[in-house]
Amino acid sequence: MIPPILQVESYGKNFMLHEQNKLIPSSHNVSFTVRRGNLTALIGPTGAGKSTVLKGIYRTYLPSAGRILYRDAMGHELDLALASEHQILELRRCEIGFVTQFLHCLPRQATLDVVAQPLFGFGVARTEARQRAAELLSAMKLPERLWSVSPATFSGGERQRVNLARGFIAKPRLLLLDEPTASLDPTTAECVLDLIEELKAEGTAMLAIFHHPETTRRLADQVVELAPPPAVEERLKELA
C-alpha cells in the first residue's frame, strides 16, 4: 500500500500568553493520515482546534507536541514540526497549498495576477498562467469585469473565490482547506465542490474543515473528529 502523504501523530498545540502568564491549550493528541487523491475532513465543535491543526501543518503555528510527517514529491519523509524555515517555504511554494478565509494581497495587483501568482513562482509564462487563472475564475463564476482589479475591495464571497482559485491553480500535492465555501451562495458553492472533486481525482491530497456536515459527507474519504482539549488551563505559577 502506498504510504500516506501526511501522517499526523499526537499533534498538540498550546499557546503561552506571557502577558497574562497563561497556557491556553488549543489542540490535544490529534492523529490521522491524509492520502493521495483522498480528502480527510476534520469535524468537531467550536474550540476543538480544527483550524489549529491546519495552521500547525502549514507551520503558521509552531506545534507544541507530536509529529507531522510529510512525504514530499521525491519520496523523502520529513517532520514539518521540525523542518527548517526554508524547507517549509519551499514546500509552500511547490507542494502544499492553504485556502483560508483571509486574503492578504498587494493593493495594486490585479485579481488575475493574484490567482496566477503560484504559477509565476514556478516560472510559468505570464500569459499561460493568466490563461489558467481565467479558466478557474470563470469556473467559479467570478464576473470577468473583476479580473483586472485588485481583490482588496471585493465582498467576502468574491474574495473566497479568489483564494480558492489561487489555492487550486498550482494543483498542490497537499491542499489545506479551511471552510472554503463558508461565504458562498449554494450555486457557487456547488461549482467549488465540483472543482475540489476534480482536483481530488487528479491526485491532490486534501485536509479540510467544512461548515456544512452534508459537504463533509459528500467529499470526505475519512472523517476525523476532534474533541476540545481537556481543560488544563492552569496558571504557570501553580505549575512552578
Binding site: 507551520r59 517549509i88 492578504h104
Partner: protein, 285 residues
Amino acid sequence: MNKILEVRNLSKIYGPGCPQCLDSTGPESDTNLCPHCRSVVAIHGVSFDLFEGEILGVMGESGSGKSTVVKALYFDQAPSGGEAIFYDSPANAPEGKHDKQHNLFALNSAQQRWLRNHRFGMVYQNPNLGLNFNISAGGNIAERLLMSDLMDYGAIRERAKALLERTEVLLSRVDDLPKDFSGGMQQRVQIAKALATQPPLLFLDEVTTGLDLSVQARILDLILEIQQELKTAMVVVTHDLGVIRLLTGRAIVMKYGRVIETGLTDQILEDPQHAYTQRLVASAL
C-alpha cells in the same frame, strides 16, 4: 535554493567596551547602554541566513539595532565583531576573480566598494543618504552606473530612463533635482538607483516610514514586483508589521541589539513565542 548571505555573530559596540558590557545589556537588562562603561551595544550576536530571491524582515522598535545590521552589511559602519559571507553567483564574479565567496569584513575597502557598487543595493529611510541632492535624478542613477564602469553616455541615459520608468518616476523629471521631488518620488529614485546594477542583494531600511499610506502601498507594490521580476534577495528593516506581513517570508525580531525571535513571518505574527513579540503584535492589531 542557494544561500546568498550568511551572517554570524554580528556585533557593533559604540564606546570603549568592557568585560561586563554584554552581560549588562540586552532584552533582559532592558537597555543597550552598558552601565559600567557607558558603551552602547547596538547589536550583538546577530546571525541569520538569506537565500537567493528571499525577503527577510528585520523588525523591532527604535534602538533595537535593526538598522545597524544593514548598515554594517552595506559597509556604512564597520562592525565590532562577527562575520558575514556573501555568496555571489560565479557568473558575476569580477573579471580575473574566480572566487565567488566574499568574507565581507575581511575585504579591503576597494573590494568592499566594488561589492557595494556592483552587487549590493541600499534604500535608506532618509533619501538624503541614498541620493545626491545636487545632481539630477538621472545623474544619481548615472553615478551608480559609472561606478560599475559603464562608459557610454547614450547607454547610461537609456538605462537611467528605463529604471525611472520602471519605478514610475515621470520621465519628464529625469533631469530635475531630487530635492524638488515628493518623499514618495525620492524613494522611487532611490530604488531606481539601487537597482541600476541589478544587484542580487538589496537592503531596505525603513523605506516607507513617514510616507502617506497610499504612497506606502505603491512603494511596497513596486518592491514586491521587482522582487518577483528580478529575484532580488532583500533584507527589509522596519518597525511596521504591515510591511513585514506584505513583503517578507521570514523575519527576525530584535530588541536592545539582540535577536529574540526568528521564524516564518506568518508564524511570528500569528503565533509569536517571545513575550516581547507577543506585546508587539498585540499592540499592532
